[in-house]
């Protein structure tokens, strides 16, 4: 009986993202390809300025940096187009321009310079590396090259990023000199269990260790998880699949929620 319930709920959860996505006008139908998972198209200013929107690939950046570095230290919002980046911001050394300043290097390669306000038209090949929406642009670093040999994941990018880091296959940078505030390493918070409301569903073990290592505190609290007292908020899968709570990340960037057993890990008693 318990197995049947679990299977039924799992089937609903696997189908649910499709249902949620199909309601969003801009969402594509079906599941994204591994290299497209986490892709964000930024168009606050581009179209208005007569240039193609920016295509940002999360996989390329998450293979090298913690979430915290960009979403806390560089102040990128957690929703697409929420940051309102302008070329002038990048040129002033903020947002993309904090790293993409034409001076830094990464892994022995120079990091190309991001936009300058009033860039000449037609756009240069460097501009088109980011302003690539609607163009058949080939990235300099291929998805297959970056992810080759990394532990496989069942969904999302098809990569188990967490395991890749545990195995030392990706080494994430968490501090950007001149931008990040030098911090002491984070005191590790205890993992805790959350009891599901559905009978027969395995308990969720929430790992503070895994989340704080990549996110710090301020990425989740209080914006994503505002409750100040445990047990006062009833998290529902409907809300999560609608993009609240865990769904802020675990729909479109972190491993998606079709991978039920990554969270519902504790054996049913």
């Amino acid at each position: 009986m318990k197995r049947t319930t679990f299977a039924a709920v799992a089937a609903v959860l696997v189908a649910a993202p499709g249902l949620v996505q199909s309601q969003a006008p801009a969402a594509r139908k079906g599941r994204p390809l591994p290299q497209e998972f986490g892709r964000v198209v930024l168009d606050n200013e581009s179209t208005r300025a007569g240039v193609p929107p920016v295509v940002f690939e999360h996989w390329l950046h998450r293979a090298k940096f913690t979430c915290r570095l960009c979403h806390v230290d560089l102040a990128f919002a957690m929703s697409a187009n929420g940051t309102k980046v302008k070329a002038a911001d990048n040129a002033a050394g903020q947002y993309c321009g904090a790293c993409h300043d034409g001076r830094r290097s990464m892994g022995g390669r120079a990091v190309f310079e991001s936009c300058r306000a009033g860039a000449a038209r037609p756009l240069s090949a460097t501009c088109l590396r980011c302003h690539s929406s609607g163009r058949d642009a080939k990235p300099q670093v291929e998805f297959a090259t970056i992810t080759k040999g990394l532990p496989r994941g069942r969904f999302g990018n098809g990569v188990d990023w967490e395991k890749a880091e545990e195995m030392g296959m990706v080494k994430l940078v968490d501090q950007l000199p001149g931008v990040s505030i030098p911090r002491q390493s984070l005191a590790i918070q205890k993992d805790f269990a959350l009891s599901p409301k559905v009978q027969g569903m395995p308990e969720i073990i929430f790992s503070h260790v895994k989340h704080t290592a990549w996110n710090g505190c301020e990425l989740c609290h209080p914006d994503v998880f505002p409750a100040v007292k445990r047990g006062t908020v009833r998290y529902t899968m409907t809300e999560i699949f609608a993009g609240k709570y865990c769904g802020v990340c675990h729909l479109s960037v972190a491993f998606p929620m079709q991978d039920c057993q990554r969270c519902h890990v504790k054996a049913v008693q």
Binding site: A75, A187, G216, C217, E218, D223, K229
Partner: protein, 114 residues
Amino acid sequence: MSATGGARVAGWRTLLLAAAIAGATAAPAWPTPARAEAQAAAKEEWRKEFEEVCARTQDAMALPSDELRSLVARCDKLKPVVEQLDESQRKVFSKRLRDCRAVYQFVLDSREAG
């Protein structure tokens, strides 16, 4: 001198006087070394304060409540300074300051909620 020529000289005199008054009363259009130094120091000051205040988010859970309240107050004091920055810096540092203040307040609220 003709009447037209006299009027022209008077016009020039008025213009020169206006320029002199404007020059004497307005702030210099370019920074003097002392002024630039003061501006740089002020710039360093807010950034230093920002880095000090927001460096404790990692150990917010372990800080005494009084210290958290003090950090929240320092964030509030810094907010109007950050709001005076140029647009790019203002966007970035307003968010960073808001996020770090929110963590401190969140920990305080969690404690009060028991």
